[in-house]
């Protein structure tokens, strides 16, 4: 019952205007088609029910004999609801959801920039991802757009948000940053040391991933999904694989589910260890930086020795996995975990014991719970700000429907909370891996995929180390990929960084940024 509540509410309110979307492959999530005129009303109904906006995207369905489809995905507790409306090609306008869901503004700017559909009522019509030197009428995700063709550079200007007054100055940072990190541009208005406003401008690593998907076969596209965000390669491969499996009605063998979870948890441990080190480094605590990174390197080396890749890239494919484990390998992992756990607890004791470190991380970059909810943030950022969100619990994909997961939820919303959520998750992931190894089922590693049926779509949500990753794939008339929508947690969590920084001092920005550690590549696509 709790999985169809939102859907029933909308159907009751809209009557015969709302109908089920029969193109979405069954058994994944609920979906509805509503008329364009009642799209905003639908969002209002869902907002009243405390549903959060998970994603908003558009698809060019002219090849399927329709116009454009605009989709919004809502989430409440255990339920996901995908609401679709059709937009005719001769009137490419859709109603904006910004008034109900502030988080929609980036999604809609992206739809406008890349698909050329106008969000009516969105006050911010500046291009996003597409920089000012792109031709205004270049809409890469439209089918009429030739993705292989180079675009000319045109003159243009980006209108930054300004703050003016005596003593206010501006600090531009990036796109090439001081450290070894991805490129992006941040602009601060500051007074003395206090930050008044921060505006992020991303899109520097836009590689045309979503367009590229449409040129690849379902199998080859798995390699592309693994490279959407290199640090989250396992979770992205898994998200893509599960969406394709939903579309094709393919159910991987249990052993594959268990191995996928093993890879996913190992990725979580490795990245959390790296982040904890980096957070300590940004408060000039080099000791913990080197120690945590030492542990991370041990995890990566075990990955390499047992599964052939340090980040486990391309080990998950649609239908299953291509790396196996035997009792010897399981024993190696058990020994490695014992070693890491012991040292990890020693390091956490040092972290916890150090008052100068505490002074920097506590009360720094506070993302209040209400703001976190308004922005619909996900993953570690949400769990550090009092939102209990984790698809391993709320939308349990196998094997998490049979393996218990406990996630920490903290309420202080500061850099410390984001660090401590990671600490607790490393502990929990170690426990989960032990349980996975103990209960590893026998059997095959893959299930062969059937032919992909034309004009269908598949949805998946998986919990990567940053948070919920959503994939939505749609097959075209010829059975190929018509659209592959990727929603990395960063697409929503970057908004949180801008909002947590107000009133902090400029030197604390690197620390706040590191405590979020969002992906540029996953956001820019």
């Amino acid at each position: 019952m709790d999985k169809i509540r939102l859907k029933n509410l909308v159907m009751n309110a809209l009557g015969s205007d709302a109908s089920e979307d029969d193109s979405l492959a069954p058994s994944t999530v609920m979906s509805l088609v509503v008329p364009r005129s009642r799209f905003a009303e639908t969002a209002r109904i869902l907002k009243k029910e405390y549903a959060l906006l998970a994603a908003e995207w558009a698809s060019d369905e002219t090849g399927l004999g329709r116009g454009y489809g605009v989709y919004a995905c809502f989430r409440r507790e255990k339920e996901y609801l995908v609401v679709k409306m059709e937009v005719p090609t001769d009137d490419p306008v859709f109603p904006s959801l910004v008034k109900k869901y502030p988080a929609a503004f980036r999604f809609e700017r992206q739809i406008q920039s890349l698909m050329g559909l106008m969000p009516a009522g969105n006050p911010d019509n500046r291009p996003w991802i597409k920089h000012e030197d792109w031709p205004a009428d270049a809409w890469p995700l439209r089918k009429t757009f030739d993705g292989a063709k180079k675009l000319p550079r045109v003159a243009g200007e980006y209108r930054w948000i300004r703050a003016e007054g005596e003593g206010i100055y501006e600090i531009p940072v990036g796109p090439v940053h001081a450290g070894i990190i991805e490129p992006g541009h941040f602009r601060f208005q500051a007074m003395g040391e206090d930050i008044i406003n921060l505006e992020a401008r991303l899109g520097y690593v836009h590689k045309g991933i979503e367009k590229r998907f449409e040129t690849l076969s379902w199998v080859d596209a798995s390699r592309l999904a693994a490279r959407v965000s290199g640090d989250t390669t396992v979770a992205h491969s898994l998200g893509y694989a599960r969406a394709v499996e939903a579309l094709a009605g393919c159910i991987p063998p249990d052993r594959a589910h268990w191995l996928r979870a093993l890879f996913l948890e190992r990725e979580r441990i490795a990245n959390h260890l790296g982040d904890l080190g980096a957070i300590c480094n940004d408060v000039a605590f080099a000791f913990l930086f080197y120690q945590f990174h030492r542990l991370k390197e041990i995890v990566l080396r075990t990955n390499m020795n047992l599964f052939g890749h340090r980040f486990l890239m391309d080990r998950i494919v649609p239908g299953g996995v291509i790396a196996d484990i035997d009792p010897d390998k399981a024993q190696t992992i058990m020994e490695e975990l014992a070693l890491i756990e012991k040292d990890f607890e020693r390091l956490v004791a040092v972290y916890d014991d150090n008052s100068s470190l505490e002074d920097r991380v506590r009360d720094t970059g506070v993302l209040r719970s209400e703001v976190a909810r308004d922005l619909c943030v996900v993953g570690i950022v949400a769990r550090a700000s009092g939102l209990n969100l984790d698809c391993r619990i709320h939308h349990p994909f196998p094997p998490y429907d049979r393996i218990e997961v406990n996630v920490p939820v903290l309420v202080s919303g500061d850099a410390h909370a984001r660090a401590w959520v990671r600490v607790e998750e490393v502990r929990e992931s170690i426990r989960i891996i032990r349980e996975l190894l103990r209960s590893m089922p026998t059997g095959r590693l893959t299930t062969p995929m059937d032919r992909i049926i034309a004009n269908r779509s598949g949805f998946s949500a998986v919990e990567g180390w940053r948070g919920e990753i959503i994939y939505w794939v749609q097959s075209g008339q010829n059975g190929g990929i018509n659209r592959c929508m990727v929603r990395d947690p960063s697409s929503v969590n970057w908004l949180g960084l801008e909002q947590c920084i107000h009133g902090n001092i400029v030197p604390d920005f690197p620390l706040c940024n590191k405590s979020f550690n969002q992906s540029y590549s996953g956001n820019d696509l």
């Binding site: 993705g147 292989a148 070894i180 520097y204 690593v205």
Partner: protein
Amino acid sequence: MIRILKQIFRTGIKTETIPPVLDPEIAKIGVKLEAVIKKRFRGSLAIRQIDAGSCNGCELEIHAVNNVFYNCERFGIHFTASPRFADLLLVTGPVSRNMEIALRRTYEATPTPKIVVAVGDCGCNGGIFGESYATVGAVDSVIPVDARIPGCPPTPIALLQGILKALAD
């Protein structure tokens, strides 16, 4: 404090010698490296890393080169925050359209003589992203490249070997 000291002594020194994998010449080059850096760079090689569109996989491995196992600083290699002090640019790709100008500017801001190393399959040839409306492809289609380190992503060992080779050539 006692906890920190205890942990330091318990950990000991983890830095490893470079194993002569793949290419037996590498061991020799490893020995040569310090000599080359000493002679050509007065014992200090400053690297500026530029992400010109990568997926962040290569960046993770470049980070790892700094960790205690690989400890690149022992050879006199260190990463600098500004291209103005850099001797070598380590560029990952594929070069995106939105980073093309920034990459060119960073290259121009680096004093000559400068060495450019393209990192990763994408930096070498565009990788799975190829060339499109959004990407220019390989690093050498934007700035001159002296050496290439393929891999997806190249391991820290491969990165160190690649840097050594770039200097020795």
